[in-house]
């Protein structure tokens, strides 16, 4: 569904030193610098797959999505989405994709969302019966009842985001590029949007690329993740694979039956915290079963949990390792 080979995007950025001197200098000789926002990225995504794009601020995620949706002209490499070259902006290509960027409005500010939907219906040439069916589904899934007829500028951020989402999916695209779709929303609303995306993916077998700084979005929706750093892919694979390759440790949490001292616990592994009856250890992945067995047999334990470190931490480690290699 999506094929990307050695995709690159270079931005030419004017550099100017602050102050009058800098202005004069740049007037006579423009200093420019090339920023490689995306630097030779290749991947393939099958139809119906949901892939999470992870990476720090400025890693090149949005730039990649903009190239895949035909907004930006790639500096090098090729991208094919649903069999089309995105930059050509073929009508049938644009009808089969959508790009949702934060809270970028495609809704007309001073009118009710419904009016914008009708414009989209016409522009995307959606038949009345399809339009009604989709609207019924979306109204139910996103709880849009009563929201659609209010002026868009009077909606809350969450309500507006739901309408944006509905407007962006009204033509039932097969490929979804979601750039931080839950940014700025409360946890409840994040969960709702996430559920909606999952539902949409299942109903229409849609292919989804999702970027988010809320790891929960990615862990909840995507089996496969691609981690980008400074325009390059540093990991592409299953979540479980990421945990194994990137994080050699697991976290064992104990709830003790009675108070123990740090010295009592030291021999069981690297003690990372001890608060009252709760203790956590960091233990090498390969030693988890042996160590936990030892704890269970020797310590007064009320409860035990074995978990992966938070995904943020794993990604962080991945970045610092990429740093070392570079």
């Amino acid at each position: 569904m999506i094929e990307v080979q050695n995709l690159e995007k270079h931005y030419l950025v004017a550099e100017k030193e602050a102050g009058i001197k800098g202005s004069l200098q740049s007037f006579f000789k423009r200093q420019t610098k090339t920023v490689k926002a995306v630097d030779g990225v290749s991947f393939q995504i099958a139809s119906g797959e949901m892939v999470g794009f992870l990476g720090a601020n400025g890693a090149g995620k949005t730039t990649t999505l903009k190239m895949l949706s035909g907004l930006l002209h790639p500096s090098a490499g090729v991208a094919r989405v649903a069999g089309f070259v995105p930059f050509e902006r073929r009508s049938s290509f644009l009808k089969s994709i959508t790009l949702i960027m934060g809270q970028k409005q495609q809704l007309m500010w001073d009118l009710p969302a419904l009016d914008s939907f009708l414009v989209n219906q016409a522009i995307y040439e959606i038949s009345d019966s399809d339009y009604q069916a989709t609207m019924r589904e979306f109204t139910e899934l996103l709880e849009l009842e009563g929201v659609l007829k209010k002026q868009v500028r009077k909606l809350s951020l969450g309500e507006r985001m739901k309408c944006e989402l509905a407007a962006a999916l009204l033509h039932r695209p097969k490929v979804l590029f979601l750039d931080e779709p839950t940014i700025g929303l409360d946890v409840n609303m994040q969960v709702k949007i996430r559920e909606f995306i999952r539902e949409y993916n299942q109903r229409f077998n849609a292919t989804v690329i999702l970027t988010s700084h809320y790891m929960a979005d990615v862990t909840a929706l995507c089996k496969r993740i691609i981690v980008v750093d400074k325009g390059k892919i540093i990991f592409d694979g299953d979540f479980s694979g990421l945990l194994e390759t990137a994080s050699p440790i697991k976290i064992i949490g104990l709830q003790l039956e009675r108070q123990l001292s740090a010295t009592d616990l030291q021999s069981y592994g690297t003690l990372s915290s001890l608060e009252g009856l709760n203790a956590t250890f960091r233990v090498a992945r390969s030693e988890v079963s042996q160590r936990s067995a030892k704890m269970l047999s020797e310590l007064p334990i009320a409860d035990i949990t074995i978990e992966d470190p938070p995904i943020e931490e794993i990604i962080g480690q991945l970045f610092s390792r990429a740093e070392v290699r570079a």
């Binding site: 907004l71 930006l72 002209h73 930059f87 049938s92 970028k104 409005q105 009016d115």
Partner: protein, 264 residues
Amino acid sequence: MIRKAKALFTAWLSHMTIYRAEIIIWMLAGMLPLIMMTVWIGKAQAEGGSTGGFSSSQFAAYFLAAWMSGQMTVAWVAWDMSFAVRQGTFSVKLLRPINPFWEYFMQHVTERFVRYPFVFLVVVVGVLLVPGTVLVKQLEHVVVYFFAIILAFIIRFLIAYCIGLACFWLENATALDELYFVLSIMLAGTFAPLEFYPAWLRGLLEYLPFPYIIYYPAQILTGQLDWTQMARVLAVQLLWVGVFFVVYQIMWRLGRKQYGAVGA
């Protein structure tokens, strides 16, 4: 296509009615020909009834026609695009299966329908205020004017659109837009009928699009041109439409590669 046009029309019409206050302010800003009309009529009266062969009522007819032509060809698309490109909303337009050109075009066409009743009213009042003013001598001229003003609008829209496309290269195209605005005010016939311009400038203006946007349509409406002259004006207008359409196409092709899709 008709369906799309209809939907855009409906949406923009409700948008425009919200902004009717702004629309009236823009119109007042376009009042210059009416102000110049009083200036020239004053001059004619001071000089014993006519100046440079124009009587008060002839000035009135010319400037009312010029004002109406200016009003019917207004295009603010350069400003809109410049804003949209910087805000990142242009990207939203680019994602839709319709060329943004048509979206802006429809927006402008729709606005004419809100604007025209006001324009018509002002022209009627103007004609009544200056005794002896004959705006239209023959009905045929209205028909030719209708086509001429449509072509004039398309020329002006295309120029504005090309200026707007310049923001793919420049960070901000409003300076360019202002330059064009000043040039068009001076060269299109807003200050005076071109008869009052120095001969060398008039000769030069024939090779520029400006007089074909305001001066010539006004001349057609007020019946100052014969049939061959009117045919020539329409032909030259068509030519300019062609020229700017090609320029637009080229700028669109090249500019899209430059487009940075900033914002978001």
